[in-house]
Each structure stands twice: as C-alpha cells, then as structure tokens.
Subunit: 232 residues, 2 copies
C-alpha cells in the first residue's frame, strides 16, 4: 500500500499506469479527453475510470480545468527544458554542436515526447478552451518553445537562404514537429516519424547535404542533455 | 426578401454573411464551434446567433452533427476537387505543368482555402468527435486528398532523394498545409503563408532551386483549373 495525495492510504487496487493517484487521474483524463472530448467528460467519469470516488479526485485537482492544465503543461515541459539547455550550450564549448544540429536535436527530442505518451495529449492544443487565459502558463511555455525553434532556425540557415523572415525555417520546424500530433491522430505515426521530421527541418534549412554529421551531433546532444534534465 | 429553405419567406433581417438561411446557420455554427467549442454549443445557441427560432433551424439541419459534417466537408471539398483536376491533366498536354509544379499548385490552392474562410474551421479536424464514422464522407474525402498529395510528391521527387517511402515528401507537404490551421489559431497566419508552405514543400522535394519556374507554372494551374471548378 502506498500513500496517495494528502496522507490517505490507498484502499483500492491500482487500475492505471502511474506511481501515484494523481498520475492515475491524469492518465484517465488524458484517455477520456482525447477519445471522448474535453467538454463531454465529467470529473465523475474520470473518477470512475480511475476507480475512485469523485470526492477523492477533488483532493488532487480542484477543477477539470486544473487537470487539463497539468496535461497541457506536460506536453511542453520536457521539450522546453531540453530546448533551453540546448540554447545555453556556449558555442565555444569543445564539441559544441553546430546551429543546425541544435535545431535537429530540439525537433527530435520534442517530437519524440509528443509521440511517446500513452495518449495523444498534444491534440488538446486545438481545443478553443486551451486558448483561454486560465492556461496562460502553458501558453507562455509553448510560446517560449516556439521562440527557441525560431532562434535556432535563424542561426542554422545560411544568410542567402533567408531573404525575408530569418526565423521562417525555425517556425516551419516547430509546425512540422507539432504536426506529429495530427499524424498520430490519423494512426500514421511510426517510430521513425520524429527523426523524419527533424531531418525535414534540416532540408528546409538548406542543410540536407550534411545530414550524416548533423544526426551524429544531434544524437550526442539528446543523449548528454536529455539525461541531465530534471524529470518532469 | 429572399426565399430561405423550404419555401418560407424570411421574415427577419439577415445578421450574418450568407445568401441563404442555411449559409447563415453554417456561419454562426462555425463561429461558435471554433471559439466556444463543439460539445458546449447547442443548436439553440446557433439559432440565437442567427436570429431564428430553433424549430426553424431544424428545417435545415436535423442535428448538430449534420452541421458539423457540412462544415468539415466544406474544408476539403474545393481542395479535393482542385487536386483531382490537377492529377488528371495528361502529362502530354501542351503546357502541362511539371510534377513539382502540380504539387505546389495543390498545396497553394488547398492552403489558401484553409486560410480564407471567416472561421478557422480546419481546427475541428482535431475534435475526437470528428473521427467518428458518422463523418465517414468527410474522412474519406480527406484521405483521398492526402493520397493525392502523396502521389504528387512521389512524382515530384527525383529517385535518389527517396530511398525509403517514395511518398514521404508528399505526406510532409500535406501536413505542412494542414499546419496552417494551427498557425492561424495562433494568430500567426499572413497572406503569404500558403505560398510559403507550398514553397517549403518544393524545398523538401529537392526542387528549391527551381522555385521561379515552378511558381509560374503553379499559378497558371491555379488560375486555369481553379476557375473551372464547380463552386462548392
């Protein structure tokens, strides 16, 4: 028997993945929101899907919006932490990756996160509800992540290829990675999809002929910085 | 006074764009679904937003799902009709566009459709509800459009650039065009966005150095075939 939430022993059998009751609630909500819809899912239905009383659920989350906020935040947290770490590696470091390899690593890591959860939570970005200022924390994180893609893109693209908006290719990389959510909803995602999207971002940056060395540097970054991340 | 629906004179002032009551209902529903959410919008709220009785709305649509079906179908109808027309131009025609220019034209035309309606209806693709087999007509149309992108992509990419899935670049083009929906939801779309996405598809196909001639052929296709389409 493990302790769940505010000091209560768990009297029931665990039915969901997750080390804590909180994680089980998030898993059940993610399933229901992505398969049945957000508005049509009640906290009662979530509690039922976990096998707990609705009143117990309220020990962990005050409202259904709080659950959505946690799920949304979870889709960007690790990608953002990784992108920040990549952006902070000094270019003068021994073995510092090229700008293109940095963008590749961010796309690969972020895309892998979007494809790897049990439920396709990224699809909830598209809810009108998710644009509400109640979710300003998530929205700010996603905007920061988008900005890091744009900056990395500008650094990766040779000047002659960016006559207009220098951040254009970074924007396209961000959008391509997010399109993995739609690919997944269509049942078309494969284990190779995140790498394919990161590679496509390189082609858009005019770095397609250097894919071999970029991939090598990118995988090193993912391995080294990914391991150091605080676990979300 | 114009006739609206089944022979009834319209006794009220029109408050919405649309030549018929049916179009006004679709406009109001598109606004409410994309800004408030699908599940939370009632047919009563739609009728109120048009300024008609709920019972009058039911002369035009039996259920809320029927309205959603019409809206979803509207987002692919013209893009699909155009892509079919492009795919059917015999390669032997005088002035037949290159495979790359055909893919460019489809992306440009389809992307322009997604960006041009009053409401960002494409965002409704991401509703779990929209994956239901009630919407099999829309889903089949979208799948056919995706298949046309994939085929055009395979024809556009030189063999050495497609060692794996020959339709990979066509798939990426389809996803990039659909990402305009997300760009629009973020308030980042500009009049140049559809062309930028079509150009990016060319870079992914290894045809970036021929953009000048591709754009010229593509615009001719859009102009010639777009004009001949039955108006959706």
């Amino acid at each position: 028997m493990t302790l769940a939430g505010p000091g209560r022993p768990r009297a029931r059998q665990s039915t969901r993945p997750g080390a804590t009751a909180r994680e089980e609630i998030l898993d059940a909500a993610a399933e229901l929101f992505t398969t049945q819809g957000y508005a049509t899912t009640s906290t009662r239905a979530i509690a039922d899907a976990v096998g707990m009383r609705q009143s117990s659920l309220y020990h962990h989350f005050g409202t259904k919006d709080d659950i959505l906020e946690d799920l949304l935040a979870g889709t960007v947290a690790e990608g953002l932490a990784f992108a920040r770490a990549v952006a902070e590696v000094p270019a003068t470091d021994e073995g510092a990756a090229s700008p293109a390899a940095r963008l590749h690593a961010v796309a690969l890591f972020d895309g892998t996160q979007l494809c790897s959860g049990r439920w396709n939570v990224g699809i909830l970005y598209h809810l009108p509800e998710a644009r509400d200022e109640r979710f300003s924390g998530f929205l700010a994180d996603r905007a920061e992540l988008r900005g890091l893609y744009r900056n990395l893109g500008a650094a990766a693209v040779p000047a002659p290829l960016r006559p207009g908006d220098p951040q254009h290719q970074g924007e396209l990389a961000f959008r391509l990675v997010e399109s993995l959510v739609s690919l997944r909803a269509d049942g078309q995602v494969t284990p190779a999809s995140p790498l394919q999207v990161a590679d496509a971002a390189m082609v858009l940056c005019g770095a397609g002929s250097m894919l071999g060395s970029i991939r090598k540097q990118s995988l090193e970054l993912v391995d080294r910085l990914g391991r150091e991340l605080p676990h979300a």
